[in-house]
Amino acid sequence: MTTLEKKICMMGAPGVGKTSLVRRFVESIFSDKYLSTVGVKIDRKVVPIGDTSLSLLLWDLQGEERYQWVRMQYLRGASGFLLVVDGTRPKTLEVALGLQENAESRVGQVPFVLILNKADLKAEWQIDVAAADRLRSAGWIVLETSAKTGENVNEAFEGLGRRILGL
């Protein structure tokens, strides 16, 4: 089995649930306070995909927008990224779209997945679902997840992994 290491980044507005998603997905050795100090926290998850053991190094970038833009340096060398949106806050989708553009300018066209988080609160969603559908039509992978229930969390990471491997 081939072992590959890949760096992926978690991006999104503050409070969208990036860290909760990562916590759902991996066991961490670093404290969450790294996010507010260094601006990033790194975790690791090995995902078997086909004949490949894919070691995902998850760079959970701090969601505070003022730093988010400054610390796009952390995207350097990333093989993909997850854009996380809070379905209950329409503004977070705009932030995600802006981050996607910024990331693409920084690291080029690398695979990414748009995550509409907080699916457990779907009754309260206020984002433009039609806009999300348009993104799907444009070829984006858009997944509805819930860090609270675990819905689609693994699928989101594994889906990104497959895209990175070109599968």
């Binding site: 072992t3 760096k7 601006g39 975790d43 690791r44 190094l57 400054v70 340096q73 990333a78 093989s79």
Partner: protein, 515 residues
């Protein structure tokens, strides 16, 4: 008709008519073909070189001597073009080398200052003075103790771990994430302080751990060191990083996440897992001091009373030596007990009386005294007094013995003669008692008469009477010196006939003398 060249007449004619033009035409054709060939070669050469390099090393092997000689020739002819070409590389390299050297110098100076003014430095100075070893050597022994515990080879672009080696017994804890955070911290430092992208956070210190980071074009090397690393470690890390870049330049440049290709660089990194082992710390030194103190206390407990007792014994012996009638011939300690021996006059002060004055218990001193008689006048008088005192009754008995005579007679009466043996025996006993005290005994026998008659006659008669008694006592075994003498009658007038008769007598007196 055929000519000597074998050509036809038509060809000969053509040669004559258009020969020069044909020759020029052929020359032009050759030149055109050569240019075309060159153009073609120029077109295919880059691809051919790329293909040849990708296939095997033959092209590189073939070109290397040519390239080397070309560069050598070029530099010999004019070094300036090459110097200009490598200037952008050599400048930063020199600056980096100088920076590293200055960093090492500053570190050394800092250590020297710290060692000079710190308590630890003071302790090391004392150690240097005590052991005679130079201060510098002491500092080296104590400060250059380090251990490189982990080496991370991290891809510079994304912070992915390429290779990780650890020293023995160091836990291998999530090196991929640590490598990522190391990379993130580098980015964080660069972003925070707005420095260049090639600048590196070279040192981090956490407690006893120091993280040294060496930055290369495609990868960085991070060494986790416990203790104080030597300056040379930085050079070792640089060389290791350069070696990895030389071994895997292409894989580093085109890294796609497969770190297994760097496995053969493990020995290079493992060579950096150096350690400097200090001389074994003197564990148990406190035990030594504890033992030393215990021994000192025990020694004190044993030695102090012994010393005090020794001094008391010395005082005791000194007192004995100053005492008349005591001669100390031996003094010392044997079998844990004080011993004193010598000669002692029976009349001398009792040695035991000095024990109390010196503060020595009697059971700590074994005394052995041989009797002797001292010639000290005081002791002689003491002995005389002692004998006189002891023999007072006998002396009185002898001295109260008197022998009376009829007028003109010098022969003792029958009754008197009967007392002689008893008196002689008593005198003999006195003589022996005095002799035991080193004295001689003299019995002075005095013969007297009454007032009648001539004085000289009376004295002769008195002496005759004394001599007779003397001879009788000697014959009876008195065994002492006996003196006999005659004396005039007493000056006191006689009262009556009885008084007169009492004056015709022989009396004895006892004297003790030194031999």
């Amino acid at each position: 008709m055929a000519d000597g060249n074998g050509g036809s007449p038509l060809e000969e004619l053509r040669s004559i008519i258009v020969g020069p033009e044909q020759s020029r035409l052929e020359d032009l054709e050759q030149r055109l073909e050569k240019d075309a060939l060159q153009a073609e070669v120029t077109r295919v050469l880059p691809g051919a070189i790329t293909r040849g390099t990708a296939q095997d090393d033959r092209l590189r092997v073939a070109l290397t001597p040519l390239m080397e000689e070309t560069i050598r020739t070029s530099v010999r002819r004019d070094p300036q073009p090459l110097a200009d070409a490598i200037f952008p590389i050599i400048g930063p390299a020199v600056r980096k080398a100088i920076s590293a050297a200055m960093g090492g110098l500053v570190q050394t100076l800092n250590q020297a200052l710290e060692h000079t003014f710190s308590l630890r430095g003071l302790r090391w100075r004392i150690q240097a003075l005590r052991t005679g070893v130079s201060f510098g050597e002491i500092v080296l022994r104590n400060s250059l103790v380090y251990r490189v515990e982990q080496i991370f080879l991290v891809h510079r672009e994304g912070g992915l771990l390429l290779l990780h080696v650890t020293a023995e017994s160091v836990p291998d804890q999530a090196p991929e994430m640590i490598a990522g955070m190391l990379s993130a911290i580098q980015d964080f430092a660069r972003d925070s302080f707005q420095v260049g992208t090639r600048d590196t956070l070279e040192t981090m210190q956490v407690g006893e751990l120091i993280v040294l980071v060496e930055d290369g074009p495609y990868a960085l090397l991070a060494a986790v060191v416990r203790g104080t690393p030597p300056v040379s470690l930085k050079t070792d890390l640089q060389q290791a990083l350069e070696a990895v870049h030389a071994m895997h330049a292409e894989q580093l440049a085109g890294f796609q996440g497969d770190a297994s290709v760097f496995a053969d660089a493990r020995p290079v990194l493992e060579r950096c897992l150096a350690q400097e082992v200090a001389p074994p710390p003197r564990k148990g030194r406190w035990r030594f001091w504890l033992l030393a103190v215990a021994v000192a206390v025990l020694l004190g407990i044993w030695l102090v009373p012994r010393t005090i007792a020794g001094r008391r014994f010395d005082r005791f012996v000194s007192s004995l030596r100053e005492t008349p009638g005591i001669v100390v011939t031996e003094a010392g300690r044997r079998d844990g007990k004080f011993q004193v021996a010598g000669l002692r006059d029976p009349a001398a002060t009792n040695p035991d009386s000095f024990l109390g004055l010196a503060g020595l218990p009697k059971d700590q001193v074994a005394e052995r005294w041989e009797p002797y008689l001292s010639l000290d006048p005081a002791l002689i008088q003491a002995r005389i007094r002692a004998v006189q005192s002891a023999q007072a009754t006998e002396v009185a008995a002898v001295e109260q013995q008197a022998y009376y005579y009829p007028v003109g007679e010098d022969q003792p009466t029958t009754e008197a003669l009967a007392t002689i043996p008893g008196l002689a025996s008593r005198i003999h006993a006195l003589g022996r008692a005095a002799a035991s005290a080193g004295l001689t005994t003299t019995i002075a026998i005095l013969g007297q008469t009454d007032e009648t008659g001539e004085k000289d006659v009376n004295i002769r008669l008195g002496r005759a009477r004394a001599e007779r008694i003397r001879d009788l006592l000697a014959a009876a075994g008195a065994g002492v010196e006996l003196t006999a003498s005659g004396a005039e009658p007493p000056a006191v007038p006689e009262v009556d006939a009885t008084d007169r008769a009492r004056r015709r007598r022989v009396t004895l007196s006892v004297k003790f003398n030194t031999p």
